[in-house]
Structures are given as structure tokens and as C-alpha cells.
């Protein structure tokens, strides 16, 4: 009976030291709440667009489908490279992990650059955020998404620095997986933003 009180194996302290499922669970929790945030924005956009009964379709034609398609390609590919980086990190192949992570970051930066090109083209044609409800939504939705991309790039950069500094000693724990999950989430949001903004004619 008193052994029970002296027991140390399997205790919560031991479990905690592994940092096992905690970061991943925490990140899924965060992602769930982010789905609701983006959901709020998307619901507002969808509802207003439907309320316009097709009037926004011609406005959407001022957006560049080719550029956005290219951007979607960039993000989809970056999801591939980050999951490969994670796999490599887990297998101890830190060079492959580093390279794939670097490509992910570059693809993310590329996305932002293309977005910047889109914005400057649209603004030079007079389509500012205040040019009407469609444009207000366009800049708000893509702007918020872009902010999330920037945060993702920063997170990935800090991981890259960590891998480069530690080399073989880099431990691919759940933090790498958590960063990957965040990046995939950003990709999934774009997967819906793209048709909602660009393809709904």
C-alpha cells in the first residue's frame, strides 16, 4: 500500500519530461480556434458576395488568376518540402532537413513577393481597400493570410537556424511537427481563399 506513494515511474513528471504529445495537442487546439477566426471572415465574405447576387463577379475579373495559380503552386510545394524536412529531421538526416526547410522558406517568400506584385498592380489601377466592399474583403482576407505566412516564415527561419547551428545534435521533437502543422494550416486556408476570391465567376 505504501509502495504506491513511493512510485516514481509513469508519474506525471516523467511523462512531462518527454514533452510528448503536448506541443502537438496544443497546436491543434490553436488551429481549431484559428479555423473559427478565418471562418468568421470567410462567412462574412461569402454572405456579402451572395447578397450582391453576382455583382462582384466582374470585380473579381480584375484579379490575376495566373499569378494566384502560381502562388497556389508555391504554397502546395512548400507543404511538401516542409513535411519532407520533418521526415528527414526525424531520421537524423539533418542536411536534407536543412535543405528542405530552406526551400520551404524561399517558397513562402516567393508567395509574398507575388502577392506584393498583385497588390501593387491592383492599387495602381485604383483598386484600393476603400474602392468598395469586394476590395475591402479582398485585402483583408489576403492581408490576414499574408500575415500568417510571415509568421510561418519567421517560425521556419528560427528552426532553420537551430538546425544549422546544432547539425547532428538537432533533436526533431514535436516542435518541428508543430511548425509543420501551422504551415499546412496556412496552406489549407489559401486552398479555400483561392477559389473564393479568384475562381468564383
Amino acid at each position: 500500500m505504501s509502495e504506491a506513494s513511493v512510485m516514481t515511474e509513469g508519474s506525471s513528471a516523467h511523462h512531462a519530461a518527454e514533452g510528448g504529445p503536448k506541443s502537438k495537442m496544443a497546436l491543434w487546439w490553436f488551429l481549431a480556434s484559428e479555423v473559427m477566426v478565418f471562418g468568421g471572415f470567410l462567412a462574412a465574405y461569402i454572405l456579402f458576395r451572395e447578397a450582391a447576387h453576382g455583382a462582384w463577379n466582374e470585380l473579381a475579373e480584375h484579379l490575376s488568376v495566373p499569378l494566384a495559380t502560381f502562388n497556389t503552386l508555391l504554397l502546395l510545394t512548400s507543404s511538401l518540402t516542409i513535411v519532407k524536412a520533418l521526415d528527414a529531421a526525424k531520421a537524423g538526416r539533418h542536411i536534407a532537413a536543412r535543405n528542405n526547410l530552406a526551400i520551404t522558406i524561399l517558397l513562402g517568400i516567393g508567395f509574398l513577393v507575388v502577392k506584393g506584385i498583385e497588390y501593387s498592380t491592383e492599387i495602381s489601377h485604383g483598386f484600393t481597400p476603400l474602392a468598395g466592399m469586394f476590395w475591402s474583403f479582398y485585402y483583408t482576407l489576403t492581408g490576414l493570410h499574408g500575415l500568417h505566412v510571415i509568421v510561418g516564415i519567421v517560425i521556419n527561419l528560427s528552426m532553420l537556424v537551430s538546425i544549422m547551428r546544432k547539425g547532428e545534435r538537432f533533436k526533431a521533437g514535436n516542435r518541428v511537427e508543430a511548425a509543420g502543422l501551422y504551415w499546412h494550416f496556412v496552406d489549407v486556408v489559401w486552398v479555400f481563399l483561392f477559389p473564393l476570391l479568384y475562381l468564383s465567376h
Binding site: 513528471a13 477566426v37 483583408t140
Partner: protein
């Protein structure tokens, strides 16, 4: 993140200010919540003085300055700010910090047999984010234009166009303060969920969790799932204000009702986020002082889960008279009436817990009984509001104010005080004075009813909410006596807290030292010292049974702690 097994900090700052110990953080939330409660209560006092004696000098208003208060008289813009900030502070900076931040943080690791939360440093960050948020809210009073004044519900276009309300930075700071508060509790929620899922002691199955832990968990989940649309709405509102977009402005093609939907989609589940920990307090206190197991543990849980799901489907009952499509009125009205069913089951289960018990009446139990009975009044009056034809008449009157004060006040204040009196010995190692406690209870209970019961009559009589000077309306002149009575009762309610504050100071310094388990209760926190050591438990707890094994036939004492060896705890 550094986990358990770290040495106890020694410097004052690391022990009491920037601590990662969930017990310290819980007390910090408690202290912050109590300070904000005092501020929110004083705001109500100033408001009520203006209502009872319009245009008169408010005692104590000399402390406030122009342009809010002119010669001691509350100005209309300041009155609106008081209304807004009273509601905002009470919901977001009192109810949530006390019920979730304080009780959640302090109790959950102890009750599951863990040494701390899953992410102790994140826990500390959450508190300090909330502290910053509270500061931002209070600072908003002092910027040009004053604090936000569009109601705690911030309906546009009034809230979307600074020119309409005269409030500019105050409202922007309000949005910022709320954003910070949401962040604090989102971070806190992830901490709580991860802790409960991954750090329960051996033998602590989900079905052996104390009801308080279930309530905290469910509340955190509801909060996390509901707050998103309001965050989206708040960002859109901020853009409207600062950039000039027109998401909620009709002239620019926007829709004010969109805000209302986005706000109440969260706003309604939020009140259950607040309610659930209050029920958790009852679920711990009532069995302990009836010396009986809680009645129908699983039934209560399933009812709470059903209610949690339903809570996402009733939000538009706040909008029956908003001009929204009438087609939506009936479904939301039906769902609202339906949600009373699971809560009624819970209330009945709590009453059944008392039935046939050997009832003891320390202050904590008095407060618990007060919470239960007063909440029943609140719950019943919810039916009237939920029934759309009736709501058309009573919406935005003092009837609604009475309803939600009869639900929120019992939950937050009476329930919070029940928890405070119950867990004070554990938290601070001292017993509170019972005589002062009982005086506090009766004064508070009677004053509370004196304030809010007449409001039902005021509401039906036509007294609408948020008006500055009722004496300008002929309709309200016959009701003025009631209004004055309510104001006097408000002063009494505030003064009734004095015995409480005295009790705290006296007990902390000279109170009788508390044993580990002064109430002879079963949950894990009572099997360790009062207050618990830094690592919560000596040795590792192993759980042998459920939390409500009171008066088990054949046992030699009428309580049976969850941990096997009650004497592994260091008692004094």
C-alpha cells in the same frame, strides 16, 4: 518548456510576481479579478446614483475629473462609458479571471494529481497578457474622448464611426484590450486541455475526475470554439474605425447585423463558459457539506455536453428585435427553450445531492445554496426572454438586466465566494472567520435581491436599458421610487463587502492555521498540505476511487479520499 522537477524559486520576484507555479498564478488571477470587481462595482454605483438622482452630485465623484464629470455630476457620454465598461469589466475581467483563471489554474493540476500545468511558462505569460489587457481597459478612460461608450456589445454603426460617439482612442483600446484578453484565455485553455489530457495521475480516469475539472475543460473548449467569429468581427470593426472600410456601415454597403451575429455567436456560449465553473464549485461544495455523493455524475456530465452543443445554436435570441429575418426567430426561440432542459437536469441533480444528506452550513455551503437558489430564479426568467413574443416586449428593458444579473451574479459572485470560502484554507493555510463570513453572506444575499428583484418590475413597467435620465420620461415617473430603492440597495451591496475584506486581512494575518483537510473532503487537493508544497504532493499520487465517496456504507469514516493513503500528505 522546463517542466516539473525544477527547484523552488527563492527571490521575491520569481516567487510572487513572475512565477510559473500554477498556485501562485491562480492567486494572481484571483487578486486581479477582485480588484477589477471593485472597479466594476464602483462604476455601477456611479451609474445608479445618476439614475436615482439625475443631475445630482455623486458622492466620491470629486475624484473624477472633467470632461467626464462636471461639478460632481455625471455627463451623458460618461454615463454611456460607465455602462459599457461595467459590463465589459464584469464579464471579461472579473468572471473569467476568477472562475477560469483562478479556480481553473489553482485547482486543476491539484485535482488531477499533477505537479503543475503542462506549460508553466505559458501560464505565466497568459496572466501577464491579461494584466496588460486590464491595464489597457482602465487606461482607456483617460484618453481624449474617454472610454468606449457603445455598450459592452459595441453595436455598429455607433461603434464603427468615431464621429457618431465622440469616442476615438477609447474604443480602439477597448478592442485591443479584448483581443489581449481573448489571447490570454486561448493560451490558458490550451494549457488546461493539454494538462488534463496528458498529466492525470495513475488511476485518475476521466470518469473519476472531479466535476470541477470537467467543467473547466468543457468551458475552455466552448470558449476556444466560439471566440473566433468575434475576433474576426473585432478586426473588421477596427478596420471600419481606423481605415474607413464599411463592413458594418449601411451607407457603404455594409450590414450592422453582421456584427451582431458575429458577436453573439461567441457572446452566448461565453455566458456558459462563465456558468460552468460556477456549477463546478457547486458540484464540489454541495457533496462535501451534505456528506453524500453527487447525484447522477454521468447524467450531469451528459447534460452539460448537450447544453454545450446547444449553446452554439441559440445566439440569435439576443437579436429577436434587431430587424433580422423573421424566419430565424422561431428556430432560435425553440432552441433557447430547449437549452433549459439540460440545465434543469443539472439543477435537479444538485438538489438531489442535498436530499437526505446530513447538511452542514459553513459559509461556503451557505454561498453554494445561495448560488443554486438565485440561479434558479435567473434560469426561469430566461424562459421569458427566450420566448420571442414576450421578448419583443421586454427586450432592452430592465427585465433582461434582472435576468442576466440573476444568472451571472449568483454564478460569479455567490459561486465565486462559495469557492473562495471553501478553498481559502487550502490556498492560504488559514481558516476564514465563520462569523464574519455569515454576516457577509446574509448582507450580500439580501442586498443582491434588493437590487435586482425590483428590476423585473421596472422592466415590465417600460424602463429601458442604458438611458441617462429616466426622469425625462413621463412613462417612467411612477417607477422612480423603485429606481431609487434599487440604488440604495446597490450602495448596501457594495458596503456589504466590507466584512469580507476585513475577514481576509484578519484571517491572513491572525487566522487559525488550516489542517490539510478541514472540510473532510475527498478530492486530491485535500490530501496534501494547506497550502500545498511547491511540487503539490509528497510522492506521486495514485488514485483509487472516484471523487464523491462520501458516507460509503461500511466505511469507518464518512469520507474516503481519492488517493489511497490519506496519511501520505504532510499534515500539521
Amino acid at each position: 518548456m522546463s517542466e516539473t522537477g525544477h527547484a523552488e524559486p527563492t527571490s521575491f520576484f520569481r516567487r510572487y510576481i513572475f512565477s510559473t507555479d500554477h498556485k501562485v498564478i491562480g492567486k494572481q488571477y484571483l487578486f486581479l479579478g477582485m480588484v477589477m470587481a471593485l472597479l466594476g462595482g464602483l462604476m455601477a454605483y456611479v451609474m445608479r446614483w445618476q439614475l436615482a438622482w439625475p443631475g445630482s452630485q455623486v458622492p466620491g465623484a470629486a475624484l473624477l475629473s472633467e470632461p467626464a464629470v462636471v461639478d460632481g455630476v455625471v455627463t451623458p457620454p460618461f454615463y454611456n462609458a460607465l455602462v459599457t465598461m461595467h459590463g465589459t469589466i464584469m464579464v471579461f475581467f472579473v468572471a473569467m479571471p476568477i472562475l477560469l483563471g483562478a479556480f481553473g489554474n489553482y485547482l486543476v493540476p491539484l485535482m488531477i494529481g499533477a505537479r503543475d500545468m503542462a506549460f508553466p511558462r505559458l501560464n505565466m505569460l497568459s496572466f501577464w497578457i491579461l494584466f496588460t489587457a486590464s491595464s489597457v481597459m482602465m487606461i482607456s478612460f483617460f484618453v481624449p474622448g474617454g472610454a468606449a461608450a457603445g455598450g459592452w456589445t459595441a453595436y455598429p454603426p455607433l461603434s464603427a464611426r468615431p464621429l457618431l460617439s465622440g469616442v476615438n482612442w477609447g474604443m480602439n483600446l477597448w478592442i485591443l484590450g479584448l483581443a489581449l484578453e481573448f489571447s490570454a484565455f486561448l493560451l490558458g485553455g490550451v494549457n488546461l486541455l493539454t494538462t488534463v489530457v496528458t498529466m492525470r495521475a495513475p488511476g485518475m480516469t476521466m470518469w473519476r475526475l472531479p466535476m470541477m475539472v470537467w467543467m473547466q475543460l468543457t468551458a475552455a473548449i466552448i470558449f476556444m470554439l466560439s471566440v473566433g467569429p468575434t475576433i474576426a468581427g473585432a478586426i473588421l470593426l477596427l478596420l471600419d474605425r481606423v481605415v474607413g472600410t464599411g463592413f458594418f456601415v449601411p451607407q457603404q454597403g455594409g450590414d450592422p447585423l453582421l456584427w451582431q451575429h458575429l458577436f453573439w455567436f461567441f457572446g452566448h456560449p461565453e455566458v456558459y463558459v462563465i456558468l460552468l465553473p460556477g456549477i463546478g464549485v457547486l458540484a464540489e461544495v454541495l457533496p462535501a457539506f451534505s456528506r453524500k455523493p453527487i447525484f447522477a455524475y454521468k447524467m450531469i456530465l451528459y447534460s452539460i455536453f448537450v447544453a454545450g452543443v446547444l449553446s452554439f445554436l441559440v445566439w440569435a435570441h439576443h437579436m429577436f428585435v434587431s430587424g433580422m429575418n423573421p424566419t430565424l426567430v422561431m428556430p432560435f426561440s425553440v432552441a433557447t427553450i430547449l437549452i433549459s432542459v439540460p440545465f434543469t437536469i443539472v439543477i435537479f441533480a444538485l438538489i438531489a445531492t442535498l436530499w437526505g444528506g446530513s447538511i452542514q452550513l459553513p459559509t461556503a455551503m451557505l454561498y453554494a445554496l445561495g448560488t443554486l437558489t438565485m440561479f434558479i430564479i435567473g434560469g426561469i426568467t430566461g424562459i421569458f426572454n427566450g420566448s420571442a413574443p414576450v421578448d419583443i416586449y421586454i427586450h432592452d428593458t430592465y427585465f433582461v438586466v434582472a435576468h442576466f444579473h440573476y444568472t451571472l451574479f449568483p454564478t460569479v459572485l455567490l459561486g465565486g465566494l462559495a469557492g473562495f470560502y471553501f478553498w481559502f484554507p487550502k490556498m492560504f493555510g488559514r481558516m476564514l472567520n465563520e462569523t464574519l463570513g455569515k454576516i457577509h453572506f446574509w448582507l450580500t444575499l439580501i442586498s443582491f435581491n434588493a437590487v435586482f428583484l425590483p428590476m423585473f418590475a421596472l422592466g415590465i413597467g417600460g424602463h429601458v436599458r442604458r438611458i441617462y435620465d429616466p426622469s425625462t420620461y413621463d412613462l417612467l415617473k411612477p417607477l422612480h421610487g423603485i429606481t431609487t430603492f434599487v440604488t440604495i440597495a446597490t450602495v448596501c451591496l457594495l458596503l456589504s463587502q466590507i466584512p469580507f475584506l476585513i475577514n481576509i486581512v484578519v484571517s491572513l494575518t491572525r487566522g487559525e492555521r488550516a489542517a490539510a483537510n478541514p472540510w473532510r473532503a475527498n478530492t486530491l487537493e485535500w490530501s496534501t498540505a494547506s497550502p500545498p508544497p511547491h511540487e503539490n504532493f509528497v510522492g506521486d499520487p495514485v488514485v483509487m476511487r472516484g471523487p464523491y465517496e462520501y458516507s460509503v456504507p461500511g466505511a469507518d469514516q464518512d469520507w474516503l479520499p481519492q488517493m489511497q493513503d490519506a496519511d501520505t500528505a504532510t499534515t500539521r
